[in-house]
């Protein structure tokens, strides 16, 4: 009787699709990492194609390698600048961490922390990690063993000032906030716009910040957030999810957002020009510039995977994962 009951239950086990084991990351110089949160027609609990963290080496065309757990609603990623085998994935399941190059991963957060949208590692002390979530910011100072919530507003990105790791900035649903005590407390910057989506810091002039907003375009600050100016020259769109600098030539900047394609500035963000040739989907959530080449640029699209330009954003081609919502890009030098 029990056996027959067990068989009845087994009949209802849902098993579809395939499982791909976590793979060790075999990165080279300038490996690009991409998180993919969903594929076309993604449904929780259904047989979905693989999502999560992918990487590609520069000599690979449209091939992407998966690592870590699939199907975790991967929103963000970061790597440890001091340890080439340590990576993080910010996801709906929590913050995943590997210290062996992706062969094994551990979720470092519990049930209390969810909807993690962003992860940043303090370059000055890589045991300190910040995560931005739909419920605010959490900080760990012990390599993600324990967490402390230091902010309670929906946070889409957190950056550590590269010139002073006690200073942080975050973009939130209630504006741009700044911390001068390593994320322990936060105060609003001078930007009056509330719904902000991304923040970027100039690689050589730390007082220079750019912010992408929901519905209000791009703003720039040249005094570490005290005052802000709206950037309007050449910009015909209003919602921006990503702004990046070319690390080697910060006069070259890129920005993307809702149906924007990619915008490029060659004068440090004063004047912008739209570059969206060959984009099948024009909503761009993240952009990464290869620090080695300067002309190789990637764009993560919401709906058609990754696009790549080899001429500094002039022309683009799809570089794989078509139909997917690619979320965050990062290139490890």
């Amino acid at each position: 009787m029990l056996h027959s009951n067990w068989m009845m239950v087994a009949m209802f086990v849902l098993t579809l699709g395939e499982y791909v084991a976590s793979q060790e990351i075999k990165s080279k110089e300038s490996t690009v990492f991409a998180t993919v949160i969903s594929t076309k027609l993604f449904i929780v609990g259904a047989a979905n194609p693989q999502t999560g963290l992918f990487y590609q080496n520069p000599d690979e065309d449209t091939v992407w390698h998966h690592t870590g757990a699939p199907n975790i609603r991967a929103n963000g990623m970061a790597y440890d600048p001091e340890n080439e085998k340590t990576f993080y994935i910010a996801s709906g399941n929590g913050l995943h961490k590997t210290t062996d190059g992706g062969r094994s991963w551990k979720i470092t957060t519990g049930w209390e922390i969810t909807e993690i949208l962003w992860v940043s590692v303090d370059p000055g002390n890589t045991s300190t990690v910040y995560i931005g979530t739909a419920y605010g910011i959490y900080k760990s100072i012990d390599g993600c063993s324990t967490w402390k919530q230091t902010f309670t507003i929906f946070t889409s990105s957190v950056i550590v000032d590269h010139s002073n790791s006690s200073t942080l900035y975050c973009s939130t649903e209630n504006g741009v906030f700044k911390s001068v005590d390593a994320g322990e407390s936060w105060s609003r910057t001078g930007l009056s716009i509330k719904r902000t989506r991304t923040i970027a810091q100039h690689p050589k002039r730390p007082e220079m910040l750019f912010v992408g907003t929901e519905d209000n375009g791009i703003f720039a600050s040249r005094d570490a957030g005290k005052t802000w100016t709206k950037i309007e020259a050449g910009i015909d769109h209003s919602t921006f999810y990503t702004i990046v600098f070319d690390p080697n030539n910060p006069e070259n900047m890129y920005a993307g957002g809702y149906v924007t394609g990619v915008y490029k500035s060659v004068d440090g963000g004063k004047i912008w020009k739209r570059k969206c040739k060959n984009f099948a989907v024009e909503s761009v959530h993240s952009i990464a510039v290869d620090p080695k080449s300067g002309t190789r640029v990637y764009a993560a699209t919401i709906g058609d995977g990754i696009y790549r330009s080899d001429d500094g954003g002039e022309t683009w081609r799809n570089a794989g994962m078509r139909g997917s919502q690619a979320w965050i890009l990062s290139i490890r030098p």
């Binding site: 009951n5 086990v13 709906g92 979720i107 209390e112 969810t114 909807e115 739909a134 649903e173 709906g303």
Partner: protein, 538 residues
């Protein structure tokens, strides 16, 4: 067979709970090889934790039981890198927190005819299989709690509501909902379901306390039952994380009229009000709504980008942005219910989605008459329902796609061409709008003719201009109701303050907000669930 099914796991928490359930039921009969395959699956397959309360409930109940089954293992033996102890403690922590919030400020995915099993089954599992005595007791108590919650709002196999979440077509064919399968098993009502979900309760040794059974089926006296629940977590565009939900139900042996206060209380699948009755299956309901949708609504509850989220939601909830849909909440809708009388008002912003309101009237009404007084009077067996539109309206033949079933999860059908099925849609395009609903049974008013006759001298007086939408109405029982959109509710000259609602307040269930204690009463019997002391007293 089980081994084959485990070769390629997919399905997240919908994989976790059948697998651990099958394992717990059948492990004594399993070969070492099969057991090893099951164990290995929990090492190699990573389920997504999900983004709703029912996902988490299933995920953590399954993880808790799995961690108990394989204790003492290091993180390398689990999909998430955590040890058995870490997984067990985390899962227990979440489940206790979920029970605490449910018994203090109410469930978030409350009273869902379609998601009832996703909460009940994990609790049935805990009650049966948890080795941890506390969790076993908690599972038992939450089973009682969930079934008692259902029983007080149950009528002949149907959940009566006001619901947080419901799919089409169960919203207009109430017995298609998953909860009705549970009603068949536990209350002996409704009809058997084809859903496999009932396998799990059918195998459970949990037995419904007689007092809850009696509450579910005894409808000898009409009663008012009020509840307080909570809104799903508001993650942005709001200052309160879990605003309150107020639900008012009037129950008789023939029908139940029930409403939430209106507004956006749950994204996508809310059912704000309906009258459901015992006559005329499968279409045993009349209800109305403003079929609103917006990216802003989605962004209030989900963390993805507001402007691109719609396509994600429509992929799994295909009716969401359909102006003809039958589920969903609206910021422009509010209700005021007093016993078996309901007023619904709308003050819809021009240009919003959509610029009309709809009412569902089923094909199997014995009568549906537009009286010269303005009342639309309907007869469904011994239940009579009257609807007074405050603005002009039109009737549209209502279509239903053949073969539509719960499994379609709202996706567009690609089947035979649509054919009229005989239901009717009342549609009104006025933005300042509303209606009054009176429900009575034959035993309450004597006859359908008498019902019609009395209605003619009860005509609502309305003011319907932008920003000033209000109605005054004297019910068939003589109560004076005054309702000004959005929150001005006055009954017999006294302001109605919804904030005074208790967690449960009716003849059968009583619980104070924050109490963690539910008192279940039926005649002289009493059963008290005290989640603070983890004691059940009778």
């Amino acid at each position: 067979m089980f081994e084959v099914l485990l070769l390629e796991p997919r399905g997240d928490m919908f994989w976790m709970f059948p697998v651990i359930g099958a394992y717990l039921h059948g492990k004594d009969k399993m070969s070492p090889r099969t057991k090893a395959i099951v164990r290995n699956a929990w090492k190699t397959y990573t389920p997504y934790r999900g983004d709703t309360e029912n996902h988490w409930c299933m995920y953590y109940a399954s993880l808790f039981l799995a961690a108990e089954q394989w204790p003492g293992l290091p993180g390398s033996e689990w999909y998430n890198g955590k040890s058995s102890n870490e997984n067990r403690d985390e899962a227990k922590g979440y489940l206790i927190q979920w029970m605490r919030i449910t018994t203090t400020i109410g469930q978030g995915e409350f009273d869902s005819p379609d998601y009832f099993p996703e909460f009940a089954i994990p609790m049935l599992y805990l009650a049966q299989f948890a080795e941890d005595k506390e969790m076993r007791e908690r599972g038992q108590m939450m089973c009682d709690y969930l079934f008692a919650d259902f029983a007080a709002e149950h009528l002949d196999g149907q959940y009566i509501g006001g619901f947080s979440r419901i799919y089409q077509p169960a919203v207009y064919k109430p017995l298609l909902s998953q909860a009705s399968g549970f009603a068949y098993l536990y209350f002996g009502t409704g009809q058997p379901t084809q859903s496999g979900w009932v396998v799990f309760p059918a195998l459970s040794p949990y037995r419904l306390p007689e007092i809850i059974y009696n509450i579910a089926v005894d409808r000898t006296r009409a009663y008012v039952h009020k509840e307080k629940k909570r809104v799903r977590n508001v993650i942005r565009m709001g200052d309160i994380k879990n605003p309150p939900v107020y639900k008012y139900t009037y129950m008789t042996k023939d029908y139940g009229l029930s409403s939430l206060q209106g507004g956006i209380l749950q994204p996508i699948q809310q059912h704000t009000w309906s009258v459901r009755y015992t006559f005329g299956r499968p279409y045993s309901t009349i209800f109305g709504l403003h079929p609103y949708w917006s990216s802003r609504e989605l962004a209030t509850f989900f963390p993805e980008e507001e402007k691109t989220m719609m396509s994600d939601v429509v992929a799994s909830k295909g009716t969401y942005n359909n102006p003809d849909k039958w589920t969903g909440s609206s910021p422009y809708e509010r209700t005021f219910q007093n016993k078996n009388t309901l007023i619904v008002l709308y003050d819809i912003e021009p240009g919003t989605t959509a610029e009309h309101i709809d009412g569902f009237f089923p094909m199997n009404l014995e009568e549906r008459t537009a009286d010269a007084s303005g009342w639309i009077v309907c007869k469904a067996g011994e239940t009579f329902v009257a609807w007074y539109p405050l603005q002009e309206y039109e009737w549209i033949d209502e279509y239903e796609k053949p073969g539509q079933s719960l499994n379609t999860i709202g996706r567009p059908e690609t089947g035979p061409e649509e054919k009229p099925q005989g239901n009717w849609r009342l549609r009104s395009h006025k933005l300042q709008n509303g209606y009054v609903v009176e429900a009575r049974s034959k035993s309450e008013v004597g006859s359908f003719e008498e019902f019609q006759k009395r209605l003619r001298s009860h005509i609502p007086k309305a003011q319907l201009t932008p920003g000033r939408v209000s109605v005054q109405y004297v019910t068939l029982d003589g109560d004076r109701m005054s309702f000004s959109f959005p929150e001005g509710r006055i009954l017999n000259g006294k302001s109605v303050d919804l904030k005074n609602y208790k967690l449960f307040d009716g003849p059968f269930l009583k619980a104070d907000v924050g109490s963690e204690k539910l008192t279940i009463q039926y005649k002289k019997s009493k059963r008290v669930l005290d989640f603070k002391s983890l004691r059940i007293t009778e």
